[in-house]
C-alpha cells in the first residue's frame, strides 16, 4: 500500500493507467501534499445536518418531494395543503430553475411558501434550504414540504436534512422509470403513484412498476393516488401523520 495516498497496488487506474505513486513523494521545497480524504458532498452534508438539527429542535417534519417534471407534484401538494391546512400547521419551500409560478399556486391555498430559483442548478442543496428557512420561519410542530426541482437524477445526491424523501411517479410516465433512475428510487422512503384516475385510458402495467421498484428498493412503500379525484389521498395523509409521530419517538 502506498504510504502517501493509501491505495493498494493495481487497484486504481488513472485514465486507464496505473496510478503513479511516485508523483506525490517527490515534493519540492515549497510544495507539499495535504491529505483530504473528504467526500465531495461534505459541505452539503454539513449544512444538511444543521437543517436536521433545526427540524428536530422545532419538531418540524420535513419532506423532500422529488419527481420528474410533469408528474403532478405541485397539484398533489396543493390538494394536500387544501385538505390538511385546517388540521395541521404546514409550510412549503418550492424549488424551480426559474419563475415563482409554483410558489404563487401554493400561496393560493393560504399556506406560507417561499420560492428558491436555482438558476442554472438542477437541484436544491442544503445550503439553499437553510437560507430559505430563515425567511420562511416554519412554525413549531409543523409539516414542511420541500418541493425539489423536477429531475430524477441530481437531487438524489443532495441531502437537504429532510426526515423522509418521497418520490412521485405518474402513470403517464413509463413503468421503467425506477430502473432507469435507480439512485432516486433506492434512497426514497415512499412512492406516490399519481394520476391513477387515468389508468383506464392507458396501456400501463402496475405489476411491472411494482416489480421494478421491488428490484431497486424492496423496502419502499407505494401508495396509488389521484390528486385530481382525491382517490386514496387519505392513505398518504395517514402515512404523513404516522411518520411524523415515529420521527419524534
Amino acid at each position: 500500500m502506498c504510504a502517501t495516498c493509501g491505495c493498494g497496488e493495481g487497484e486504481v487506474k488513472i485514465d486507464g493507467e496505473d496510478h503513479n505513486h511516485h508523483s506525490h513523494t517527490h515534493t519540492t521545497s515549497n510544495k507539499r501534499i495535504v491529505q483530504i480524504e473528504t467526500d465531495i458532498l461534505e459541505k452539503n452534508n454539513q449544512y444538511a445536518n444543521q437543517n436536521r438539527v433545526f427540524f428536530k429542535e422545532h419538531k418540524i417534519f420535513a419532506l423532500n418531494l422529488v419527481s420528474s417534471p410533469g408528474s403532478g407534484k405541485t397539484s398533489l401538494l396543493c390538494k394536500t395543503l387544501d385538505d390538511l391546512k385546517n388540521k395541521y400547521k404546514l409550510s412549503v419551500i418550492e424549488g424551480d430553475q426559474q419563475t415563482d409560478n409554483d410558489a404563487k399556486r401554493i400561496q393560493k391555498t393560504g399556506c406560507p411558501a417561499v420560492q428558491i430559483n436555482t438558476g442554472k442548478g438542477c437541484h436544491l442543496d442544503a445550503h439553499m434550504v437553510g437560507h430559505s428557512l430563515e425567511r420562511l420561519k416554519p412554525e413549531k410542530d409543523s409539516y414542511l414540504f420541500i418541493e425539489n426541482v423536477g429531475n430524477l437524477v441530481c437531487p438524489a445526491s443532495f441531502d437537504l436534512g429532510e426526515a423522509k424523501r418521497v418520490v412521485i411517479l405518474s402513470v403517464t410516465e413509463g413503468e421503467d422509470k425506477p430502473i432507469k433512475y435507480p439512485d432516486m428510487f433506492a434512497d426514497s422512503d415512499l412512492m406516490l403513484l399519481n394520476k391513477i384516475d387515468l389508468l383506464p385510458h392507458l396501456d400501463y402495467s402496475l405489476d411491472k412498476v411494482y416489480q421494478y421498484v421491488n428490484k431497486i428498493n424492496p423496502k419502499m412503500k407505494i401508495i396509488q393516488v389521484s390528486a385530481t379525484t382525491g382517490e386514496s389521498m387519505d392513505l398518504w395523509y395517514q402515512w404523513l401523520e404516522i411518520s411524523k409521530k415515529t420521527e419524534e419517538i
Binding site: 495516498c5 495535504v34 473528504t38 459541505k43
Partner: protein, 129 residues
Amino acid sequence: MIKIVVVFILSIEPNSMHEMSLCEGVLDVIEDSAKAQNFKKVSQIFLEIGNLSGVEIEAMKFCFAAVMRDSIADKAKLTIIKKEGLAWCMKCAKKVKVKQKFDKCPDCGSYQLQIVSGDEMKIKELEVE
C-alpha cells in the same frame, strides 16, 4: 453537420450542471482546508471517482477549470483516480465486478449484492504551496 452539433449540446448540458455543483463542492472543501492547513495555492487535486457514482468524468473535467478560475486552485491540475465497481454477492460469498448499481451478480444472477466500492466521490489529496 449542424444537426450533429445541436444533439451534442443537448446531450451534455443536463449532466454538466450536476458536475458543476460537484466541482463547487470540491472548491468549498479546498477553501476550508486552506484555512485549517494554512496554504495559499493549490497546484494539483486528486479526486477519487467510482464507476458507480454517476459522475460523468468528461463533464467533471469540463466544469473543473471554470469553477476553479480565480480561486485558490486557479489552473490547478486535476487528476482523477477511477475506482471500479465491486460488490459482495451474498450467494457466491465473494466480491464480484459490477458495471452499474443494481446489476445482478455476473456469476450466479442474484440481485443480493452489496456495493463495496465504486460509489466514491472523494477528494483524496492536494498538492499545495
